[in-house]
């Protein structure tokens, strides 16, 4: 029988790329930087569109340090609003997924509220909560909660009926079914929702900082325009791009590595 057991035994969730693909990736990044440098020095005024060399210099200077510090402030903000939004979204979503009438009650509001651009709430929120962290946290929370909530509902409702029947046939109570089938069965969907929500919540934090912030990366970038400090602006943009990339990589690692067994459809 062992002859038939040699199928997919690879456990590693991280795809090992072939050397050829690694080469293409590296070349692509190098070419992009070269093109950027060319565009900055030859095609436009390098004052208004700084090239990678200038941006790198800015990053390694004082303003680079400031930006890193500001990034810390922004991420702390994001962490709190995102965590709260995820917790509330997942809890409500899992409950609503289980209880039909609750779902019917909640869904129209969720679809209505999530259709409103988060920043459109900045006005009332500023008046309610004042200029400061609470308003930003509220907006980050808002941009997270509905996505996680909707994904959690889908996670619960897409659980295969056969799994519930199976558990019940082994004598599972409703609580057993909830704890052993529904929770683990919807976890993958909750994670997908959170991953999606994370990029939204960072974007919301940056926008809020630009609109009425007093610190954070968004604030630094927006302030720098007043001084025509294009190097800092572009350094900030690079930091945002890299941060988004890294955060998503970390989350993907958690989602498909650590929690691979909860992946949707498994």
């Amino acid at each position: 029988m062992t002859a038939r057991l040699s199928m997919r035994t690879r456990r590693s969730p991280v795809r090992i790329k072939s050397p050829f693909n690694v080469l293409i990736g590296v070349l692509s990044v190098c070419a992009g930087i070269a093109l950027w440098q060319y565009a900055a020095s030859e095609l436009t005024s390098s004052l208004l569109f700084p090239g990678p060399v200038k941006v790198a210099k800015a990053l390694s200077s004082r303003s680079g340090l400031d930006l890193i510090g500001a990034l810390g402030t922004t991420l702390k903000r994001v962490a709190l609003g995102f965590a709260l939004g995820s917790a509330v979204g997942a809890t409500t979503g899992i409950l609503a997924g289980n209880v039909k009438w609750l779902r019917t009650l909640v869904e129209p509001y969720v679809h209505f509220l999530r259709s409103i651009a988060t920043l459109a709430w900045a006005g009332p929120a500023l008046i309610w909560f004042g200029i400061g962290n609470i308003t930003t946290e509220f907006l980050i929370f808002y941009s997270t909660v509905f996505i996680v909530l909707l994904n959690s509902i889908v996670g619960v409702t897409s659980i295969d009926e056969q799994r519930i029947q199976m558990a019940r046939s082994f004598g599972a109570t409703r609580l057993d079914v909830f704890l052993q089938i529904v929770l683990p069965g919807s976890f993958g969907y909750v994670l997908s929702g959170m991953r999606l929500a994370m990029s939204f919540s960072v974007a919301t934090a940056i926008s809020a900082e630009m609109l009425f912030g007093t610190n954070g990366v968004g604030y630094v970038i927006y302030e720098s325009r007043l001084y025509f400090n294009f190097e800092t602006i572009f350094a900030g943009l690079v930091i945002l791009g890299v941060t988004g990339l890294v955060l998503d990589k970390i989350f993907t690692g958690v989602q498909f590595g650590l929690f691979a067994r909860y992946r949707q459809g498994r």
Partner: protein, 267 residues
Amino acid sequence: MTRAHATPLHIAPAVGCMGKAPNAEYIALKDVTFSYPGQHPVLTDFNLTVARGELLVIVGESGCGKTTALNLIAGFESAQKGTVSIDGEPITGPGPDRIVVFQGDRSLLGWLTALHNIEFGLKLAGMSRQESRRRALEMLDRVGLAGQGDKYPHELSGGMKQRIQLARALVSLQRVLLMDEPFAAVDALTRTTLQDQLLSLLANADATVVFITHDIAEAVTLADRVIVMRRGAVRHTLEVELPRPRTRGSAEFASFYDKVERALRQP
């Protein structure tokens, strides 16, 4: 009722050994009418009895009501009219005395290893960690998957997944095993292996089995009795008097195969 030559299965002592119902009517569906909401009845005044220790195979075209009959015995559905009982007791819902083996592999839990999937029923029954682990490992070995216990379902082939499902059912088996086309999705060769494995695992076990299939050869291989269903009623009952172990290529096997096929084709 010994079905094959193999060591006996560890089986929980059956509850209610001194059954109130006659052994010939261990499982009984009497004058059962069942319909899904807003649809024509799937079963109308349907009658079926399964003897204790019997391996009953139900064949019939899609939509004939065989899965509904099984779901009624499992307790997943309840009849609008008539009674469904086991050992004289009415069936009110699903329970561990009637373990179900499902079609396909969707009922295996993707977040549990093969071994933990097998242990699922034992843990629900409150068995200790060590004991359930020990029994699951033993059963894993008996279905021929020793050493594969730490794999997750998606890492296993279709045939292996069905073995895990079989192991999960058999390790918790008390009285009745309900199987709804359990081997339909695996290749023909694996299917016959699984059939032989099922028979040897059931040998000496005091289990009553209801098995649904579309595969006539599977029915002839496994059954003590084959019933043919059509449009919500039992149309034919065929006692399989072939000696065991049955040889799929034998003349008797072929002639009984013909008999079932003709019964299926009859209007």
